[in-house]
């Protein structure tokens, strides 16, 4: 690994094989997270479904805040458990999560709820919910994820693999989701534990999914020369998915005066599973392509070194033949 940036690279740049290392433990941890969150929802809706009865406001708020932390704690727990061979430093991953939460609380929430007052107009019409949901909510939230990764960990030597873009973006996305869930609990003076657990999981899964997609683009742009619109396209895709998802979630969970949070959970699970599969495929494909190019370069270098090997003196050759061989070597060397 290079210890300092060079004229050719803005940041530390390890060798290609290192960049293309795929963390099997990360993907297993992501699958376990999905299962763990389902178990969490099941516990609060089937086993402890009467737990919130008779609890007063402060206790419900406290339990709601604790519940908001569960997806992030589960994720960090599973990740460290499954990623023991070459783990990301705990303090850096946790730092990105906390930074994501702080920037959301300090910038994104005041901007969206205060300055743009989205609650007063976003839900007025289908068009405002779709376009405003993408351009304002989607872009602001995904910008938080991008900026936290870009200015929090991007230049760090620990950001040394393509998949790190996904890992750190998901950490930032979970920080964002945690603060949004905190806000929801506080604004409602506590939540019903059953419905609250579903909402916490839906918000976390959705934001982790969008962050994962954006993270793939960040990882690519960190280690590859990409077209100028590559990274903005990744951000726009994540913002688009963000806006469309929460519009659909609103439609499938609310039917007239009744609310069915299970439809929202189903939608979030489908989105998370598809996003995870898509990012897994994209990262694997990029890594394979990186290794393929490395192998190709090696074969080319080997071929060049063989052709550059000096030819032993053969007494039978004439001076004219020796002269021709020298010219050929010079041409290959220049090539």
């Amino acid at each position: 690994m290079q210890s300092t940036p060079t004229a050719d690279s803005a940041f530390y740049h390890p060798d290609a094989e290192h960049i293309a290392h795929n963390r099997r433990g990360f993907w297993i941890a992501a699958l376990l997270e999905l299962v763990g969150l389902l178990v969490f929802v099941g516990l609060f809706n089937l086993v402890f479904d009467r737990m919130g009865d008779g609890l007063d406001g402060w206790l419900l708020i406290f339990l709601g805040l604790l519940m908001s932390l569960v997806p992030a704690v589960l994720w960090l727990g599973f990740f460290y458990r499954m990623d023991r061979l070459e783990p990301e430093p705990k303090e850096k991953l946790t730092g990105v999560f906390i930074l994501g939460a702080l920037v959301t609380g300090a910038v994104a929430v005041p901007l969206l709820e205060g300055f743009f007052a989205i609650d007063t107009w976003l839900y007025d019409s289908f068009a405002s919910q779709l376009i405003g949901g993408i351009l304002l909510v989607g872009f602001v939230e995904e910008a938080v994820v991008y900026l936290v990764v870009r200015y929090g960990i991007y230049a760090d030597p620990e950001f040394d693999e393509r998949v790190d873009g996904v890992i750190y973006a998901i950490a930032a996305g979970l920080g964002l989701a945690t603060v949004l869930n905190f806000n929801y609990v506080l604004e409602h003076g506590g939540v019903d534990l059953g419905i609250g657990s579903v909402r916490v999981v839906v918000t976390s899964l959705a934001h982790a999914s969008f962050a994962g997609i954006l993270g793939y683009f960040i990882g690519q742009a960190r280690f590859e020369k990409t077209p100028s619109l590559y990274l903005p396209a990744g951000l726009a895709l994540a913002a688009l998915l963000n806006g469309v998802f929460f519009l659909l979630e609103d439609r499938v969970t609310s039917a007239g005066l009744s609310v069915n949070p299970w439809n929202g959970l189903l939608l979030a699970l489908v989105v998370a599973a598809v996003s995870l599969a898509a990012v897994f495929w994209l990262v694997n494909r990029s890594n394979e392509e990186t290794l393929r190019v490395v192998a190709l370069q090696r074969r080319t270098d080997d071929a060049l070194s063989i052709s550059n090997t000096p030819i032993p003196n053969l007494p039978a050759f004439t001076s004219v033949q020796e002269s021709s061989a020298d010219d050929a070597d010079t041409e290959k060397g220049e090539g």
């Binding site: 803005a10 989205i118 351009l135 304002l136 742009a221 960190r222 590859e224 951000l235 990186t290 190019v293």
Partner: protein
């Protein structure tokens, strides 16, 4: 675009990291894209906030506009009503429209005396707060009466909400709809504690009728 699609299709072409200048280009573009999207979203927000729906009174009478987020509500006794479902109070902010044939020789001066009496009979603890002459649709004379009363919006549903002090304004004018003179009364009302929050919407409603002057 072709380069972008190619990069998505076959991402790792170079195995070369971005140079410092390419990294600066990426950073700058991202900031520009984020700010541009927020700017567009801000425009969308402003359009949405200012969006109005219209209710056509018919004939040569003016058209009433009200905030697009308000919901039309069925009601007896008035021609039209729209309420703001986002009102924090149990008494939703509203606009109502009442039209009746003007009596023979009826003038705005006579109406300014009789209208509060009518309101006293309809509304509990009615208090007439002010009356102001303004210019109505087409520059015709009009009258704005400001008042307050006590409403009990949750009583009918049987819930235990407290009564609400309502502040309202009635815009009164006489207009000819092509058949004859009509007395048009446009009422805006809200929980008195939320008057300031809805003042902008009420101003827009009256402005849509061409009202000049008044509060």
């Amino acid at each position: 675009m072709a380069a972008l699609l190619e990069a998505l299709r076959k991402p790792s072409i170079t195995n070369q990291p971005p140079s410092p200048s390419e990294q600066r280009r990426n950073d700058l573009l991202m900031i520009v894209v984020i700010l541009f999207a927020i700017f567009l979203g801000w425009g969308m927000r402003n359009n949405s906030v200012k969006a109005m729906h219209e209710f056509v009174l018919g004939g040569q009478l003016p058209t009433l506009a009200y905030p697009a987020s308000w919901l039309e509500a069925q009601t007896e006794g008035v021609l039209f009503r729209a309420i703001d479902p986002a009102s924090p109070s149990t008494y939703d902010a509203r606009v109502e429209l009442f039209v009746r044939d003007a009596k023979e020789g009826e003038t705005l001066d006579q109406i300014s005396a009789s209208w509060p009496l009518r309101r006293t009979q309809e509304l509990d603890r009615f208090r007439n707060l002010a009356a102001a002459a303004v210019k109505g649709p087409g520059g015709a004379p009009a009258l704005i009466i400001t008042y307050a009363y006590i409403a009990d919006p949750t009583r009918e549903s049987g819930s235990l909400g407290l009564p609400v002090v309502v502040k309202g304004q009635d815009l009164l004018f006489i207009a000819n709809d092509g058949i004859g003179d009509r007395l048009v009364a446009v009422t805006v009302a809200t929980d008195a504690t939320e008057w300031a929050a809805h003042a902008d919407a009420f101003t827009k409603i009256f402005a849509s009728l061409g009202v000049q002057g008044g509060e």
